[in-house]
Symmetry: C2
Subunit: 407 residues, 2 copies
């Protein structure tokens, strides 16, 4: 089962139909080719209010300080801290209550609420628990240090500062930062336009599963920040596939189905016809009949039609391309969990093998190997393990990284 691996682009890809793959490219080399053809897209100007979920491209520089001026961080009484020295329950000091929106004279205090500006002269906010109101007077029953209960100008973000290292995906929480900084427009990486080309069912196939791949891929592309510009159903064979790949406009083209060794597996030939098939056959299970190349300037990834093979090739190859084009972290977006293997994980040497697992108490129980996994088993899994090509699996007790489905 050990495939001889080859470097992409070294030779013309063979026609594998009715023959099988005589050699395969390693997952690492396939990923390297995608990385070389997945340069981050140019930035565009977007409204800050629509920017959550986008990757901010340029520096996110604060146009003004936040807070813009000294202000109360808590509800209480603004005052001069030195005037509270020595105050206590048995030594209450009296200050005159004044309005908060005028400069504060000596011996005075003003009621303020969190977020409001401090009257000139005040340097601290006394909490309610250390004060009693007595008509127009405040009895101070505790001392407060200079700066207590206040925020300085720019304490949170100074004017000109760059609180976020870019490029970075903007989180829901960042909407508050953008509002605080008064940013209305910002520069975000353009979302990759992805064309999905779904091959029609094979002539010999009683049932097609390719229609199941389209809905999955549309959602995975969206998850990775891409925009599916269109789903093209290429019924018929090579010429229909070629016609679907030919038009320019997409940043990436994903072709689903017709990548294998059957007589009508013509996606690789169609790519050769319309552009360049750079590699076909990856040392990955499931998903090993994936291929890639160029149609005009657009990188094309050929994905197997079998659903799990399609998903696996998307996650490790096509998804990486989409994520890179959009300026995201190219690695798998799943949350990872280190776990101990409960039962032996088997894998083919020479292939990166996916193995679906259930997680319980920090232990991973394999429920389906790359060879026998089906949709039912994968749906029942909590995540998957990737076994590197040199290994033939993991014995019980090994520590493995699980890519979780639930994040």
């Amino acid at each position: 089962m050990t495939p001889s691996t080859q470097r992409p682009g070294r030779r013309r890809c063979e026609d594998v139909r009715l023959r099988g793959f005589s050699s395969r490219v390693s997952v690492e080399e396939a990923a390297a080719w995608l990385d070389a053809h997945g340069e981050r897209l140019a930035a565009e100007d977007v409204a800050a209010r629509q920017a959550v979920g986008r990757v901010v491209a340029g520096p996110l520089r604060a146009a003004a300080s936040y807070p813009a001026a000294l202000r109360a961080a808590e509800d209480g009484y603004a005052l001069r801290s030195r005037e509270t020295i020595g105050a206590g329950t048995y030594n209450p000091l009296r200050l005159a209550l004044r309005p908060f929106d005028a400069p504060l004279g000596e011996g005075a205090a003003a009621l303020v609420t969190a977020g409001s500006g401090l009257p000139a002269g005040a340097d601290a906010v006394l909490p309610f628990s250390a004060a009693q109101v007595d008509g127009a007077w405040l009895e101070v029953t505790g001392a407060v240090a200079e700066g207590a209960g206040v925020e300085r100008e720019g304490q949170d973000v100074r004017s000109g500062a760059e609180p976020v290292a870019t490029p970075r995906l903007l989180r829901p929480e960042d909407a508050a930062l953008l509002a605080a900084l008064g940013l209305e427009r910002l520069s975000a990486v353009r979302r990759p336009r992805v064309r999905l080309v779904v091959a029609g069912p094979k002539r010999a196939a009683g049932a097609s599963t390719a229609d199941a791949d389209g809905p999955v891929l549309e959602r995975l592309v969206a998850r990775d920040g891409g925009v599916v510009e269109g789903v093209v159903r290429a019924a018929g064979g090579r010429s229909a596939l070629a016609s679907a790949m030919a038009p320019p406009g997409a940043d990436a083209i994903l072709v689903v189905g017709r990548t294998g060794t059957g007589p009508d597996d013509e996606a690789p030939l169609a790519l050769s016809e319309v552009g360049e098939l750079v590699l076909h056959g990856v040392a990955l299970r499931p998903g090993g009949s994936a291929g890639m190349g160029l149609a005009g300037a657009a990188p094309v990834v050929l994905l197997p039609g079998a659903p799990l093979a399609c998903q696996c090739a998307y996650e490790l190859l096509a998804g990486r391309l989409v994520r890179r084009l959009g300026g995201r972290d190219p690695r798998l977006p799943h949350a990872v969990e280190e776990a101990e293997v409960r039962s032996k994980i088997v894998s083919a040497v020479g292939f990166v093998d996916a193995c679906w697992v259930r997680l319980a108490d920090g232990r991973a129980e394999p429920i389906a190997s790359a060879e026998d996994a089906g949709l039912g088993a994968a749906a029942g899994a909590d995540g998957f393990v990737l076994v590197p090509a040199p290994l033939e699996g993991y014995p019980p007790g090994s520590r493995v990284t699980v890519y979780r489905y639930d994040h």
Copy 2:
């Protein structure tokens, strides 16, 4: 700083304005009250194609087996495995090539492709690497075992099986399973309808940050599976807030701002007026002025207006309610990572304290504590740590759970 905690509902909530909180409810008790008022909503019938991202409610039972019949799992030649016994490179055996769509006679083989049905009589698929075509004949140069290269009826999912334990959030990948099972409709938990009531700026506040909370909450509610049915801006005080809470129709109401101890912090009073304020003041930092109660049948969560306090109270309290109503895992949805504390994390005893951290090489470096955190620091963090109420922090070298922002 240790608050005396109280059980919710034991006594009428005090008016904390100009006084401060004399007691607070623990985060656990507040969460328990929300859990008691956040029963999973009823299920509704939805189209399977729109069901990804929804929580499937009832059992997801396969209406038919998948595959529906014996089929080829690989491209190759369907044949009777016993007729290949003894075949080898130096002992090729000859079989007659026949079409795949007719029953297979003795001594015959048929070209099949992955996913196609097997002709009657065949029990295995021979790979191309073990065969040579010679006109109308196939030379078999390797033996194949019964069942090799084929999938049995129902091997993936048997008719009547329930491949997914429900309730469960449907993943992008599940779209393929639903298509394979031929499911067109399914039963999903209704998405919680959430009303956001945003209080207008306080009279004494120079700048309002409440407008920054709305956009954040809209996205966090969507992340948790809720539907924001409307954002109501309640300018003015108590009566405007009460009017916004009063109309029925929402499964949950989140009121933002006006929860503190200032003179116009009237959200708790408004809730008392229109329904019942059950608790006000939670031993949580930031976010400790949160409150909750009922407006008619709808649970109401009062969230502080200060952005980080709002986010923190949403994540630990309101978000938990939204997730439970929608049938999701009520715990924080962030990916978690165990990390070693690099520098001391400080925290107030008696409060669950959030501490924002940067992660590097499996170590967590605190960059802002509950007391001094601002939007800038939080935006620069990779995640946050929650310090339980009994602890005063974590010394360097401690192991902590980090809730990551990037998942």
